[in-house]
């Protein structure tokens, strides 16, 4: 079912067959897009079988030859090379967040795509969750006045794959998970000048669990706090926000009673890491429809590659704060980004 009347690629090349690919593949299929899947592990056939669509490519070259647009759903540390390969093949790229493990690599990805003349979009899907979009629209409309104090939380069961728990490969919880809310804070309250963060990791019988908290100071005077958790496997995915401005506030808790309530024995392992259940179109479908369309000459998307770089910079500043134990001044990314924007 195509839910949007916008240009979309005929064939998308999905690289990776892990957790996030399981969200992207069904969304592409529902949008009526053909998908070729390539993964360096052996999970691509199972992914295709599970979703009843898509075709396994035998090599990255085959995928790049067949796809108009590449959707990078691999672990973070592999992003820069894969994006460069796609760009060199002349393919536009949607890249899973975070773009990369460093600001310099993220900027280089932007430069490579610009040099190749292909679009690059970060898959910062929380901007497409209905409650978060409604919040952003309301703030942009001035309903709350000037944003003053913002808070966000994102608590999930710990990711099962080991690479997430190696900060050298994932950037840790602040860069991998909390980047969503760091991005939301910046989207709503503007550029960030200072970041402070704390984190706790504990070993449990089920493996390491982590929680982290960041406090942001925005250039215009607003302050934000973000809490993240990669917690016990039984944890129900839950996100909250509370945004207070000079005229009012809006709050949200995904655990609040929704339009449908079920009181029944729950299945084992009800926890999840990807997203709380939402009604209507999947936020991944909304995201990929908008980003895919933007790559095909449609209207501009609500998130840009430079937003992706800025989000990486915030996550890294938070990590730096963990290392130093102090507050970290965030370099004014605009001075590094504007030349690119003008390009």
């Amino acid at each position: 079912m195509r839910t949007t009347d916008v240009p979309l690629p005929k064939v998308v090349g999905l690289i990776g067959a892990g957790g996030i690919a399981n969200a992207h593949l069904p969304a592409w299929l529902e949008l009526g897009v053909e998908v070729v899947v390539y993964s360096t592990d052996d999970r691509a056939p199972a992914l295709v079988a599970a979703h009843g669509g898509g075709e396994v490519a035998g090599s990255l070259d085959e995928l790049l030859a067949r796809a108009e647009l590449v959707d990078v759903c691999t672990p973070t540390y592999t992003h820069p090379e894969l994006v460069a390969r796609a760009a060199q093949a002349g393919r536009g790229v949607i890249c899973e967040k975070p773009l990369a493990l460093t600001v310099e690599e993220s900027l280089e990805m932007v430069r490579v795509c610009e040099a190749a003349g292909v679009p690059l979009y970060p898959a910062q899907v929380v901007r497409f969750f209905p409650a978060y979009r409604a919040l952003q629209r309301s703030v942009a409309a001035g309903d709350l006045g000037t944003p003053a104090v913002l808070r966000f939380s994102r608590l999930a069961s710990r990711p099962q794959r080991a690479w997430f728990h190696d900060p050298a490969l994932s950037g840790g919880i602040l860069l991998d998970q909390m980047i969503h809310d760091l991005d939301m804070a910046r989207w709503l309250a503007g550029e960030v000048t200072q970041v402070q963060a704390r984190a706790v990791t504990r070993d449990t019988e089920d493996g390491p669990i982590s929680t982290a908290q960041a406090v942001l100071t925005h250039a215009d005077g607003a302050i934000s706090t973000v809490t993240g958790g990669w917690l016990a496997p039984t944890t129900t995915f839950r996100t909250t926000f509370g945004v207070a401005g000079t005229k009012g506030y809006l709050r949200y808790d995904s655990a609040a009673l929704g339009p449908v309530r079920v009181d029944a024995p729950s299945a084992a392992g009800t926890g999840g890491t990807l997203l709380p259940r939402t009604l209507g179109d999947s936020p991944f479908l909304l995201e990929l429809a908008e980003l895919g369309s933007a790559c095909c000459g449609g209207p501009p998307a609500r998130v840009s590659a430079l937003d992706g770089v800025a989000a990486v910079a915030l996550g890294l500043a938070a990590n730096q704060s963990l290392d130093t134990g102090g507050a970290v001044t965030v370099a004014d990314l605009r001075t590094r980004l504007e030349p690119l924007e003008q390009h």
């Binding site: 000037t146 003053a148 104090v149 808070r151 939380s153 608590l155 200072q194 402070q196 704390r198 984190a199 706790v200 504990r202 449990t204 669990i209 929680t211 908290q213 406090v215 100071t217 005077g221 607003a222 302050i223 934000s224 706090t225 809490t227 958790g229 917690l231 016990a232 039984t234 944890t235 839950r238 509370g242 207070a244 401005g245 000079t246 005229k247 009012g248 506030y249 655990a255 134990g325 102090g326 507050a327």
Partner: protein, 338 residues
Amino acid sequence: MKIGIHSLAHPHAEGYLRLLTARPDLQVAIADPPAVAGTPQDGAPRGRAAAEHFGVDYFDDLAALLAWQPDGVIVCTENARHRAAVEEIAAAGVPILCEKPLATTLPDADAMIAAAAAAGVPLMVAYPVRFSVAFDALRSVFDGGGIGELISFCGTNNGKLPAERDWFAQPELSGGGAIMDHTVHLADLLTVLLPEASATSVYARANTLLHADRAAAETGGLVSIEFDNGVIGTIDCSWSSPSDDLVWGGLTLQLIGSTGIADLDAFDAQHLAGFATGAGPLRRGYGDDANATMLQTFLDAVADGRSPQPDGATGRRSMAIALAAYRSLSVGEPVAVE
């Protein structure tokens, strides 16, 4: 039993008066001396007029109230005046319930604790939330191991800009703004949940964007805390409710543990919501009154002479976190808690 209230400067005094005067077993009196020259006043009934309104005895000053020989005195002066009042009451050998925060400086708090100890009288600090049935339920889950080991927490204590009394926005009388007013409630709950742990590092950011036209101190604040057992947490202490909000505000505390998560909504979860033509949205709370439980605890202490919790030392712990937050604001970095 005779209970005195010294000063109606803090609006909580009116709530205490309502509860105390409803009890036939208590005699109640107030002292509400005229404000010091230059102190802004609002239109709330004070002094003799307030005493007549509540039907209680009135005295011109604390010395006269103490001459009435009360069995216990509740101190509701401006925060910065707690020390002088507590020292005078303790010297008279009378048990004390002191409005929070205990004081505005650590030397003041230490002097008050020492004065009560020297006189051998209980000194209790008025932190009602720990007496609520909601917190009791959270605590039983936590103490029962229901969420495993605590690793972090998120607290919010938001409300309107306190408009009943102008001194709240005068740091020399209040000790600060939203941080001093609201951080301490959540900090007190943490002293209950983590009796063995001490806060070691505090980082705070604040602004005056909210209620900017009337803000003489910070109205927005975020406080990040680390404890010596590794627990981390944040407190949003902002006065972020619009002045025409349906409720004054609320307090929430989310505990993130090694095996689970527990959420407290100390006020907002217990209400009916509706709508009435002409009146607009309706809210009718049906929660318990934690103030009544807190006051009963104080009255019990007066009766048996024991020192109840939260005592002066406990009040000092929560207050020290707020004071560290102000030091962090001035240096822009995390600071150690004194």
